[in-house]
Protein backbone atom coordinates (compact mmCIF):
# COMPACT_ATOMS: atom_id res chain seq x y z
CA UNK A 1 0.00 0.00 0.00
CA UNK A 2 2.72 2.46 1.04
CA UNK A 3 4.86 1.34 -1.87
CA UNK A 4 2.08 1.73 -4.38
CA UNK A 5 1.36 5.18 -2.93
CA UNK A 6 5.01 6.20 -3.32
CA UNK A 7 4.94 4.95 -6.85
CA UNK A 8 1.69 6.82 -7.43
CA UNK A 9 3.16 10.14 -6.32
CA UNK A 10 6.35 9.80 -8.34
CA UNK A 11 4.60 9.01 -11.60
CA UNK A 12 4.85 11.76 -14.18
CA UNK A 13 1.16 12.12 -14.88
CA UNK A 14 0.36 12.28 -11.17
CA UNK A 15 3.00 14.95 -10.62
CA UNK A 16 1.58 16.92 -13.54
CA UNK A 17 -1.90 16.57 -12.10
CA UNK A 18 -0.72 17.74 -8.67
CA UNK A 19 1.17 20.73 -10.07
CA UNK A 20 -1.80 21.79 -12.20
CA UNK A 21 -4.39 21.21 -9.48
CA UNK A 22 -2.48 22.96 -6.71
CA UNK A 23 -1.43 25.99 -8.74
CA UNK A 24 -5.04 26.50 -9.80
CA UNK A 25 -6.32 25.99 -6.25
CA UNK A 26 -3.97 28.71 -5.04
CA UNK A 27 -5.55 31.35 -7.30
CA UNK A 28 -9.04 29.82 -7.05
CA UNK A 29 -9.05 30.61 -3.31
CA UNK A 30 -9.00 34.41 -3.57
CA UNK A 31 -10.82 34.50 -6.90
CA UNK A 32 -13.55 32.16 -5.67
CA UNK A 33 -13.92 34.29 -2.53
CA UNK A 34 -14.91 37.20 -4.75
CA UNK A 35 -17.42 34.98 -6.55
CA UNK A 36 -18.97 34.08 -3.19
CA UNK A 37 -18.93 37.65 -1.82
CA UNK A 38 -20.40 39.09 -5.01
CA UNK A 39 -22.91 36.27 -5.52
CA UNK A 40 -21.56 35.47 -8.98
CA UNK A 41 -21.68 31.66 -8.89
CA UNK A 42 -24.30 31.49 -11.61
CA UNK A 43 -22.15 33.82 -13.66
CA UNK A 44 -19.24 31.40 -13.29
CA UNK A 45 -21.46 28.51 -14.36
CA UNK A 46 -22.49 30.37 -17.49
CA UNK A 47 -18.88 31.04 -18.40
CA UNK A 48 -17.95 27.40 -17.84
CA UNK A 49 -20.80 26.17 -20.02
CA UNK A 50 -19.88 28.60 -22.75
CA UNK A 51 -16.40 27.07 -22.75
CA UNK A 52 -17.84 23.94 -24.33
CA UNK A 53 -19.15 26.04 -27.19
CA UNK A 54 -15.61 27.40 -27.46
CA UNK A 55 -14.22 23.89 -27.87
CA UNK A 56 -16.77 23.12 -30.57
CA UNK A 57 -16.03 26.31 -32.49
CA UNK A 58 -12.30 25.68 -32.11
CA UNK A 59 -12.72 22.25 -33.70
CA UNK A 60 -14.73 23.59 -36.60
CA UNK A 61 -12.28 26.38 -37.33
CA UNK A 62 -9.36 24.02 -36.69
CA UNK A 63 -7.68 26.29 -34.13
CA UNK A 64 -5.84 25.60 -30.88
CA UNK A 65 -8.46 24.21 -28.45
CA UNK A 66 -7.04 25.98 -25.37
CA UNK A 67 -6.94 29.30 -27.21
CA UNK A 68 -10.48 28.93 -28.48
CA UNK A 69 -11.74 28.10 -24.98
CA UNK A 70 -9.98 31.18 -23.58
CA UNK A 71 -11.33 33.29 -26.40
CA UNK A 72 -14.92 32.15 -25.93
CA UNK A 73 -14.80 32.55 -22.14
CA UNK A 74 -13.41 36.08 -22.40
CA UNK A 75 -15.98 36.94 -25.07
CA UNK A 76 -18.87 35.65 -22.97
CA UNK A 77 -17.53 37.45 -19.88
CA UNK A 78 -17.43 40.66 -21.87
CA UNK A 79 -20.95 40.21 -23.26
CA UNK A 80 -22.36 39.35 -19.83
CA UNK A 81 -20.72 42.41 -18.28
CA UNK A 82 -22.23 44.65 -20.94
CA UNK A 83 -25.69 43.09 -20.51
CA UNK A 84 -25.39 43.42 -16.75
CA UNK A 85 -25.12 47.21 -17.07
CA UNK A 86 -28.63 47.32 -18.54
CA UNK A 87 -30.90 47.02 -15.55
CA UNK A 88 -33.96 46.40 -17.71
CA UNK A 89 -32.93 42.78 -18.28
CA UNK A 90 -33.26 40.15 -15.58
CA UNK A 91 -29.71 38.95 -14.98
CA UNK A 92 -30.85 35.70 -13.42
CA UNK A 93 -33.01 34.59 -16.33
CA UNK A 94 -30.50 35.84 -18.85
CA UNK A 95 -27.67 33.84 -17.29
CA UNK A 96 -29.88 30.77 -17.25
CA UNK A 97 -30.67 31.11 -20.93
CA UNK A 98 -27.06 31.73 -21.94
CA UNK A 99 -25.62 28.98 -19.75
CA UNK A 100 -27.82 26.19 -21.01
CA UNK A 101 -28.15 27.30 -24.61
CA UNK A 102 -24.37 27.53 -24.98
CA UNK A 103 -23.90 24.13 -23.33
CA UNK A 104 -26.54 22.54 -25.57
CA UNK A 105 -25.22 24.27 -28.68
CA UNK A 106 -21.68 23.16 -27.85
CA UNK A 107 -22.74 19.51 -27.54
CA UNK A 108 -24.79 19.67 -30.76
CA UNK A 109 -21.95 21.22 -32.74
CA UNK A 110 -19.48 18.67 -31.34
CA UNK A 111 -21.82 15.85 -32.42
CA UNK A 112 -22.23 17.29 -35.90
CA UNK A 113 -18.48 17.65 -36.40
CA UNK A 114 -18.07 13.90 -35.97
CA UNK A 115 -15.14 13.69 -38.35
CA UNK A 116 -13.03 14.48 -35.30
CA UNK A 117 -13.29 12.25 -32.29
CA UNK A 118 -13.80 14.26 -29.13
CA UNK A 119 -13.87 12.87 -25.64
CA UNK A 120 -16.94 14.76 -24.48
CA UNK A 121 -16.82 13.18 -21.04
CA UNK A 122 -13.32 14.55 -20.45
CA UNK A 123 -14.60 18.08 -21.04
CA UNK A 124 -17.74 17.62 -18.96
CA UNK A 125 -16.16 15.94 -15.94
CA UNK A 126 -12.46 16.67 -16.34
CA UNK A 127 -9.44 14.52 -17.11
CA UNK A 128 -6.78 15.68 -14.71
CA UNK A 129 -4.61 12.63 -15.25
CA UNK A 130 -4.32 13.21 -19.00
CA UNK A 131 -2.77 16.64 -18.58
CA UNK A 132 0.16 17.13 -20.93
CA UNK A 133 3.09 19.52 -21.14
CA UNK A 134 1.17 22.18 -23.03
CA UNK A 135 -1.80 22.03 -20.65
CA UNK A 136 0.44 22.41 -17.64
CA UNK A 137 2.24 25.39 -19.16
CA UNK A 138 -1.09 27.09 -19.87
CA UNK A 139 -2.29 26.51 -16.32
CA UNK A 140 0.95 27.76 -14.73
CA UNK A 141 1.00 30.80 -17.01
CA UNK A 142 -2.61 31.78 -16.32
CA UNK A 143 -2.30 31.14 -12.55
CA UNK A 144 0.76 33.37 -12.41
CA UNK A 145 -0.91 36.19 -14.35
CA UNK A 146 -4.11 35.93 -12.27
CA UNK A 147 -2.12 35.88 -9.02
CA UNK A 148 -0.12 38.98 -9.99
CA UNK A 149 -3.18 40.98 -11.05
CA UNK A 150 -5.10 39.92 -7.92
CA UNK A 151 -2.21 40.99 -5.71
CA UNK A 152 -1.82 44.30 -7.52
CA UNK A 153 -5.49 45.33 -7.30
CA UNK A 154 -6.35 43.48 -4.07
CA UNK A 155 -7.35 46.46 -1.93
CA UNK A 156 -9.39 47.96 -4.79
CA UNK A 157 -11.18 44.69 -5.49
CA UNK A 158 -12.12 44.29 -1.81
CA UNK A 159 -13.16 47.94 -1.60
CA UNK A 160 -15.54 47.80 -4.60
CA UNK A 161 -16.96 44.54 -3.25
CA UNK A 162 -17.69 45.98 0.20
CA UNK A 163 -19.25 49.21 -1.07
CA UNK A 164 -18.84 50.29 -4.68
CA UNK A 165 -20.04 53.87 -4.16
CA UNK A 166 -17.65 54.68 -1.34
CA UNK A 167 -14.90 53.08 -3.43
CA UNK A 168 -15.83 55.26 -6.40
CA UNK A 169 -15.80 58.45 -4.32
CA UNK A 170 -12.40 57.39 -2.99
CA UNK A 171 -11.12 57.28 -6.55
CA UNK A 172 -11.53 53.67 -7.70
CA UNK A 173 -12.52 53.10 -11.31
CA UNK A 174 -15.34 50.71 -10.43
CA UNK A 175 -16.40 49.74 -13.96
CA UNK A 176 -12.86 48.96 -15.04
CA UNK A 177 -12.09 46.99 -11.88
CA UNK A 178 -15.30 44.98 -12.28
CA UNK A 179 -14.34 44.10 -15.82
CA UNK A 180 -10.80 43.07 -14.81
CA UNK A 181 -12.15 40.82 -12.08
CA UNK A 182 -14.63 39.20 -14.45
CA UNK A 183 -11.91 38.61 -17.04
CA UNK A 184 -9.69 36.98 -14.40
CA UNK A 185 -12.55 34.63 -13.52
CA UNK A 186 -13.07 33.85 -17.21
CA UNK A 187 -9.37 33.11 -17.74
CA UNK A 188 -9.21 30.84 -14.72
CA UNK A 189 -12.32 28.93 -15.74
CA UNK A 190 -10.97 28.55 -19.27
CA UNK A 191 -7.84 26.72 -18.13
CA UNK A 192 -9.54 24.77 -15.29
CA UNK A 193 -11.69 22.72 -17.66
CA UNK A 194 -9.24 19.83 -17.80
CA UNK A 195 -9.15 19.52 -14.05
CA UNK A 196 -12.75 19.07 -13.00
CA UNK A 197 -14.63 19.70 -16.24
CA UNK A 198 -17.29 22.15 -17.39
CA UNK A 199 -19.96 20.89 -15.01
CA UNK A 200 -17.86 21.07 -11.85
CA UNK A 201 -15.56 24.08 -12.38
CA UNK A 202 -17.56 26.54 -10.29
CA UNK A 203 -17.60 24.12 -7.38
CA UNK A 204 -13.80 24.27 -7.25
CA UNK A 205 -14.09 28.07 -7.08
CA UNK A 206 -16.93 28.27 -4.57
CA UNK A 207 -16.64 25.37 -2.12
CA UNK A 208 -13.14 26.15 -0.71
CA UNK A 209 -14.03 29.80 0.13
CA UNK A 210 -17.32 28.65 1.64
CA UNK A 211 -15.38 26.16 3.77
CA UNK A 212 -12.93 28.88 4.82
CA UNK A 213 -15.63 31.38 5.80
CA UNK A 214 -16.08 30.22 9.37
CA UNK A 215 -12.30 30.23 9.93
CA UNK A 216 -11.72 33.82 8.82
CA UNK A 217 -11.97 37.29 10.36
CA UNK A 218 -10.75 39.27 7.36
CA UNK A 219 -11.09 38.92 3.58
CA UNK A 220 -7.39 38.06 3.36
CA UNK A 221 -7.66 35.19 5.85
CA UNK A 222 -10.62 33.78 3.96
CA UNK A 223 -8.77 33.95 0.63
CA UNK A 224 -5.61 32.26 1.94
CA UNK A 225 -7.48 29.57 3.84
CA UNK A 226 -9.62 28.90 0.76
CA UNK A 227 -6.42 28.30 -1.22
CA UNK A 228 -5.27 25.82 1.40
CA UNK A 229 -8.62 24.01 1.46
CA UNK A 230 -8.52 23.80 -2.35
CA UNK A 231 -4.96 22.42 -2.40
CA UNK A 232 -5.75 19.82 0.27
CA UNK A 233 -8.86 18.81 -1.69
CA UNK A 234 -6.77 18.28 -4.83
CA UNK A 235 -4.23 16.07 -3.02
CA UNK A 236 -6.81 14.03 -1.07
CA UNK A 237 -9.05 13.86 -4.14
CA UNK A 238 -6.23 12.39 -6.21
CA UNK A 239 -5.37 9.86 -3.51
CA UNK A 240 -8.96 8.73 -3.07
CA UNK A 241 -9.47 8.54 -6.83
CA UNK A 242 -6.50 6.17 -6.96
CA UNK A 243 -7.52 4.24 -3.87
CA UNK A 244 -11.22 3.81 -4.68
CA UNK A 245 -10.79 3.79 -8.46
CA UNK A 246 -13.20 6.68 -9.11
CA UNK A 247 -12.96 9.67 -11.52
CA UNK A 248 -10.52 12.34 -10.28
CA UNK A 249 -12.54 15.54 -10.89
CA UNK A 250 -15.67 14.52 -8.98
CA UNK A 251 -13.47 12.98 -6.29
CA UNK A 252 -11.76 16.36 -5.67
CA UNK A 253 -15.14 18.08 -5.45
CA UNK A 254 -16.45 15.48 -3.00
CA UNK A 255 -13.41 15.96 -0.75
CA UNK A 256 -13.85 19.76 -0.85
CA UNK A 257 -17.51 19.34 0.08
CA UNK A 258 -16.63 17.09 3.03
CA UNK A 259 -14.16 19.73 4.28
CA UNK A 260 -16.86 22.37 3.87
CA UNK A 261 -19.34 20.32 5.90
CA UNK A 262 -16.75 19.69 8.61
CA UNK A 263 -15.98 23.40 9.10
CA UNK A 264 -19.61 24.39 8.67
CA UNK A 265 -20.83 22.18 11.49
CA UNK A 266 -17.67 22.26 13.64
CA UNK A 267 -16.10 25.68 13.06
CA UNK A 268 -13.94 25.18 16.17
CA UNK A 269 -12.39 21.93 14.97
CA UNK A 270 -9.02 23.51 14.14
CA UNK A 271 -8.90 25.88 17.10
CA UNK A 272 -9.41 23.17 19.71
CA UNK A 273 -6.28 21.40 18.53
CA UNK A 274 -4.10 24.44 19.09
Amino acid sequence: MIDSMTLFFTTDFVLYALAAGISLSLVAGPLGSFIVWRRMSYFGDTLAHSALLGIALGLITDSNPQLSIIFSCLLFAFILTLLDRRPSLSTDALLGILAHSSLALGIVVLALADSVRVDLEAYLFGALLTIGNADLIWILLVSTVVAIVLYWFWNDFVSITVHSEIAEIEGANVKRLNLILVLLIALTIAVSMKIVGVLLITSLLIIPPAAARSLANTPEQMAVKASLVGSVSVVLGLISAFYFDVPVGPSIVVVATLIFLLFYFYPGVLKSKN
Binding site: W37, N155, V162, E165, I166, I169, E170, A210, N217, E220
Partner: protein
Protein backbone atom coordinates in the same frame (compact mmCIF):
# COMPACT_ATOMS: atom_id res chain seq x y z
CA UNK B 1 -22.01 62.70 -22.56
CA UNK B 2 -18.89 63.08 -20.47
CA UNK B 3 -17.39 65.71 -22.68
CA UNK B 4 -20.47 67.94 -22.50
CA UNK B 5 -20.38 67.57 -18.74
CA UNK B 6 -16.76 68.67 -18.66
CA UNK B 7 -17.58 71.59 -20.92
CA UNK B 8 -20.23 72.87 -18.59
CA UNK B 9 -17.91 72.46 -15.63
CA UNK B 10 -15.14 74.41 -17.24
CA UNK B 11 -17.64 77.04 -18.39
CA UNK B 12 -18.63 77.57 -14.78
CA UNK B 13 -15.05 77.52 -13.63
CA UNK B 14 -13.89 80.11 -16.13
CA UNK B 15 -16.90 82.34 -15.54
CA UNK B 16 -15.24 83.47 -12.32
CA UNK B 17 -18.58 83.18 -10.61
CA UNK B 18 -17.10 81.36 -7.63
CA UNK B 19 -14.88 82.78 -4.97
CA UNK B 20 -11.97 80.73 -3.70
CA UNK B 21 -13.92 79.70 -0.59
CA UNK B 22 -16.44 77.70 -2.61
CA UNK B 23 -15.88 73.96 -2.38
CA UNK B 24 -18.74 72.80 -4.52
CA UNK B 25 -21.68 74.31 -6.30
CA UNK B 26 -24.61 72.88 -8.22
CA UNK B 27 -26.49 75.02 -10.71
CA UNK B 28 -29.96 74.39 -12.15
CA UNK B 29 -29.92 70.63 -11.68
CA UNK B 30 -32.79 68.71 -13.28
CA UNK B 31 -33.38 64.98 -13.08
CA UNK B 32 -36.20 62.73 -14.20
CA UNK B 33 -36.79 59.03 -13.60
CA UNK B 34 -39.31 57.36 -15.88
CA UNK B 35 -40.85 60.72 -16.86
CA UNK B 36 -41.29 61.69 -13.24
CA UNK B 37 -39.54 64.87 -12.25
CA UNK B 38 -37.39 64.14 -9.22
CA UNK B 39 -35.33 67.31 -9.13
CA UNK B 40 -36.38 70.61 -10.62
CA UNK B 41 -33.94 73.45 -11.09
CA UNK B 42 -31.91 72.88 -7.93
CA UNK B 43 -28.95 75.08 -7.07
CA UNK B 44 -26.78 75.00 -3.99
CA UNK B 45 -23.36 76.17 -2.86
CA UNK B 46 -21.12 74.81 -0.13
CA UNK B 47 -18.25 76.87 1.22
CA UNK B 48 -15.29 76.03 3.43
CA UNK B 49 -16.31 75.37 7.03
CA UNK B 50 -19.99 75.67 6.20
CA UNK B 51 -22.60 73.09 7.18
CA UNK B 52 -25.47 72.79 4.72
CA UNK B 53 -28.39 70.54 5.62
CA UNK B 54 -30.89 69.13 3.17
CA UNK B 55 -34.25 68.37 4.70
CA UNK B 56 -37.43 67.15 3.11
CA UNK B 57 -39.97 64.34 3.26
CA UNK B 58 -39.25 60.82 2.04
CA UNK B 59 -39.06 60.66 -1.74
CA UNK B 60 -38.28 64.36 -2.05
CA UNK B 61 -35.13 63.65 -4.06
CA UNK B 62 -32.57 64.31 -1.31
CA UNK B 63 -30.48 61.21 -1.96
CA UNK B 64 -30.74 61.69 -5.74
CA UNK B 65 -29.40 65.23 -5.37
CA UNK B 66 -26.53 64.01 -3.20
CA UNK B 67 -25.66 61.29 -5.72
CA UNK B 68 -25.59 63.87 -8.50
CA UNK B 69 -23.41 66.19 -6.44
CA UNK B 70 -21.05 63.26 -5.82
CA UNK B 71 -20.86 62.46 -9.52
CA UNK B 72 -22.38 58.99 -9.03
CA UNK B 73 -25.36 60.01 -11.15
CA UNK B 74 -25.56 62.29 -14.19
CA UNK B 75 -28.15 65.08 -14.13
CA UNK B 76 -30.41 65.54 -17.19
CA UNK B 77 -29.36 69.16 -17.25
CA UNK B 78 -27.46 71.56 -15.05
CA UNK B 79 -23.86 71.73 -13.94
CA UNK B 80 -21.72 70.76 -10.98
CA UNK B 81 -18.69 72.85 -10.17
CA UNK B 82 -16.15 71.74 -7.65
CA UNK B 83 -12.76 72.94 -6.58
CA UNK B 84 -10.11 71.10 -8.60
CA UNK B 85 -9.02 67.79 -6.97
CA UNK B 86 -11.54 68.26 -4.17
CA UNK B 87 -11.22 65.53 -1.54
CA UNK B 88 -14.66 64.28 -0.56
CA UNK B 89 -15.47 62.03 2.39
CA UNK B 90 -18.75 60.23 1.78
CA UNK B 91 -20.98 58.47 4.25
CA UNK B 92 -23.78 56.62 2.46
CA UNK B 93 -27.23 56.05 3.88
CA UNK B 94 -26.79 52.32 4.12
CA UNK B 95 -23.91 49.91 4.21
CA UNK B 96 -24.84 46.27 4.13
CA UNK B 97 -21.93 43.87 4.18
CA UNK B 98 -22.46 40.40 2.73
CA UNK B 99 -22.59 37.85 5.56
CA UNK B 100 -20.13 35.72 3.57
CA UNK B 101 -17.54 38.51 3.69
CA UNK B 102 -15.56 38.55 6.95
CA UNK B 103 -14.61 42.12 7.72
CA UNK B 104 -13.33 43.70 10.91
CA UNK B 105 -13.86 47.38 11.64
CA UNK B 106 -10.15 48.13 11.28
CA UNK B 107 -9.89 46.27 7.94
CA UNK B 108 -12.93 48.18 6.67
CA UNK B 109 -11.29 51.47 7.62
CA UNK B 110 -7.98 50.49 6.02
CA UNK B 111 -9.79 50.24 2.69
CA UNK B 112 -9.84 54.04 2.72
CA UNK B 113 -6.30 54.66 3.81
CA UNK B 114 -3.90 51.76 4.24
CA UNK B 115 -0.76 53.54 5.26
CA UNK B 116 -1.49 56.25 7.79
CA UNK B 117 -1.73 54.30 11.06
CA UNK B 118 -1.47 57.41 13.17
CA UNK B 119 -4.43 59.05 11.44
CA UNK B 120 -6.40 55.83 11.91
CA UNK B 121 -5.65 55.76 15.64
CA UNK B 122 -6.49 59.43 16.11
CA UNK B 123 -9.72 59.17 14.15
CA UNK B 124 -10.86 56.13 16.12
CA UNK B 125 -10.06 57.90 19.40
CA UNK B 126 -11.81 61.08 18.33
CA UNK B 127 -14.98 59.14 17.56
CA UNK B 128 -14.58 56.94 20.66
CA UNK B 129 -14.64 53.69 18.70
CA UNK B 130 -11.09 52.38 19.31
CA UNK B 131 -12.50 49.42 21.24
CA UNK B 132 -14.42 48.25 18.14
CA UNK B 133 -11.35 47.68 15.94
CA UNK B 134 -11.41 43.89 16.04
CA UNK B 135 -15.19 43.54 15.95
CA UNK B 136 -16.88 42.28 12.82
CA UNK B 137 -18.67 45.06 10.96
CA UNK B 138 -21.85 42.96 10.98
CA UNK B 139 -21.84 42.59 14.77
CA UNK B 140 -21.80 46.23 15.91
CA UNK B 141 -24.86 48.37 16.71
CA UNK B 142 -26.46 50.89 14.37
CA UNK B 143 -25.00 53.84 16.26
CA UNK B 144 -21.53 52.30 16.25
CA UNK B 145 -21.77 51.56 12.53
CA UNK B 146 -22.60 55.22 11.81
CA UNK B 147 -19.46 56.28 13.68
CA UNK B 148 -17.37 53.75 11.79
CA UNK B 149 -18.72 55.07 8.49
CA UNK B 150 -17.96 58.62 9.61
CA UNK B 151 -14.43 57.50 10.50
CA UNK B 152 -13.95 56.04 7.01
CA UNK B 153 -15.06 59.34 5.45
CA UNK B 154 -12.65 61.26 7.71
CA UNK B 155 -9.68 59.03 6.83
CA UNK B 156 -9.61 60.64 3.39
CA UNK B 157 -8.74 63.95 5.09
CA UNK B 158 -11.74 65.45 3.32
CA UNK B 159 -12.22 69.08 2.40
CA UNK B 160 -15.92 68.29 2.02
CA UNK B 161 -17.94 65.76 3.99
CA UNK B 162 -21.11 64.46 2.39
CA UNK B 163 -23.36 62.59 4.82
CA UNK B 164 -26.59 60.86 3.84
CA UNK B 165 -28.71 60.63 7.01
CA UNK B 166 -25.77 60.24 9.38
CA UNK B 167 -28.03 59.68 12.40
CA UNK B 168 -29.94 56.78 10.91
CA UNK B 169 -30.44 53.93 13.33
CA UNK B 170 -29.06 55.98 16.22
CA UNK B 171 -31.15 56.49 19.35
CA UNK B 172 -32.39 59.98 20.07
CA UNK B 173 -29.76 60.90 22.66
CA UNK B 174 -27.05 59.59 20.37
CA UNK B 175 -28.40 61.60 17.44
CA UNK B 176 -27.89 64.94 19.15
CA UNK B 177 -24.39 63.85 20.15
CA UNK B 178 -23.57 62.74 16.61
CA UNK B 179 -24.66 66.07 15.13
CA UNK B 180 -22.58 67.89 17.73
CA UNK B 181 -19.63 65.69 16.74
CA UNK B 182 -20.08 66.55 13.06
CA UNK B 183 -20.24 70.23 13.95
CA UNK B 184 -17.02 69.91 16.01
CA UNK B 185 -15.26 68.12 13.15
CA UNK B 186 -16.28 70.84 10.73
CA UNK B 187 -14.94 73.48 13.13
CA UNK B 188 -11.66 71.74 13.95
CA UNK B 189 -10.81 70.57 10.45
CA UNK B 190 -12.35 73.46 8.57
CA UNK B 191 -14.16 71.17 6.17
CA UNK B 192 -17.48 71.89 4.56
CA UNK B 193 -20.39 69.55 5.25
CA UNK B 194 -23.40 68.66 3.15
CA UNK B 195 -25.80 66.39 4.98
CA UNK B 196 -29.26 64.98 4.69
CA UNK B 197 -31.52 64.90 7.68
CA UNK B 198 -35.22 64.77 8.16
CA UNK B 199 -35.52 66.40 11.49
CA UNK B 200 -34.69 70.06 11.48
CA UNK B 201 -34.94 70.56 15.24
CA UNK B 202 -32.04 68.16 15.86
CA UNK B 203 -29.67 69.82 13.39
CA UNK B 204 -30.75 73.41 14.10
CA UNK B 205 -27.87 74.29 16.39
CA UNK B 206 -25.21 72.71 14.21
CA UNK B 207 -26.13 73.92 10.75
CA UNK B 208 -25.42 77.15 8.91
CA UNK B 209 -27.79 76.77 6.01
CA UNK B 210 -30.91 74.67 5.55
CA UNK B 211 -32.31 73.73 2.18
CA UNK B 212 -35.84 72.45 2.34
CA UNK B 213 -36.35 70.14 -0.62
CA UNK B 214 -39.44 68.61 -2.13
CA UNK B 215 -38.41 68.02 -5.77
CA UNK B 216 -37.74 71.75 -5.90
CA UNK B 217 -36.22 74.06 -3.30
CA UNK B 218 -39.21 75.07 -1.14
CA UNK B 219 -37.23 77.47 0.97
CA UNK B 220 -33.70 77.92 2.19
CA UNK B 221 -31.66 80.01 4.55
CA UNK B 222 -30.66 80.11 8.20
CA UNK B 223 -32.38 77.41 10.28
CA UNK B 224 -34.33 79.98 12.34
CA UNK B 225 -35.60 81.51 9.12
CA UNK B 226 -36.58 78.19 7.51
CA UNK B 227 -38.38 76.97 10.61
CA UNK B 228 -40.81 79.88 10.34
CA UNK B 229 -41.20 79.76 6.58
CA UNK B 230 -44.76 78.92 5.46
CA UNK B 231 -43.38 76.48 2.85
CA UNK B 232 -41.55 74.57 5.56
CA UNK B 233 -44.56 74.53 7.89
CA UNK B 234 -46.74 73.42 5.01
CA UNK B 235 -44.40 70.52 4.25
CA UNK B 236 -43.86 69.30 7.77
CA UNK B 237 -47.12 70.38 9.41
CA UNK B 238 -47.64 72.91 12.15
CA UNK B 239 -46.49 70.43 14.80
CA UNK B 240 -42.94 70.88 13.53
CA UNK B 241 -42.86 74.46 14.77
CA UNK B 242 -44.14 73.31 18.16
CA UNK B 243 -41.20 70.95 18.46
CA UNK B 244 -38.88 73.72 17.45
CA UNK B 245 -40.02 75.97 20.23
CA UNK B 246 -38.59 73.48 22.67
CA UNK B 247 -35.18 73.82 21.11
CA UNK B 248 -35.02 77.52 20.55
CA UNK B 249 -35.82 78.57 24.11
CA UNK B 250 -33.15 80.22 26.15
CA UNK B 251 -31.79 78.28 29.02
CA UNK B 252 -32.15 80.00 32.39
CA UNK B 253 -29.97 77.49 34.15
CA UNK B 254 -27.12 75.11 33.52
CA UNK B 255 -26.41 71.68 34.83
CA UNK B 256 -23.32 71.28 36.98
CA UNK B 257 -21.03 68.29 36.77
CA UNK B 258 -23.10 66.45 39.37
CA UNK B 259 -26.34 67.21 37.54
CA UNK B 260 -27.44 69.83 40.02
CA UNK B 261 -29.00 73.04 38.71
CA UNK B 262 -26.93 76.20 38.75
CA UNK B 263 -29.19 79.22 38.58
CA UNK B 264 -28.13 82.14 36.52
CA UNK B 265 -29.96 85.27 35.61
CA UNK B 266 -30.89 86.82 32.36
CA UNK B 267 -30.33 90.47 31.61
Amino acid sequence: MESSDNDSKSALESSGEFSSGVLLAARSINKEFADKKILENISLTIEEGQIVTLIGPNGAGKTTLVRIVLGLLQPDSGAIYHRPALRIGYMPQKVQVEPTLPLTVSRFLQLANRHDRELLGNTLNGLKISHLQDHQLTSISGGELQRVLLARALLRKPELLILDEPAQGVDLGGQAELYRLISDISDSQGCGVLMISHDLHLVMSSTDEVICLNHHVCCHGKPEHVSNDPAYLNLFGASASGDLAVYTHHHDHEHGIGGGVKEHHHD
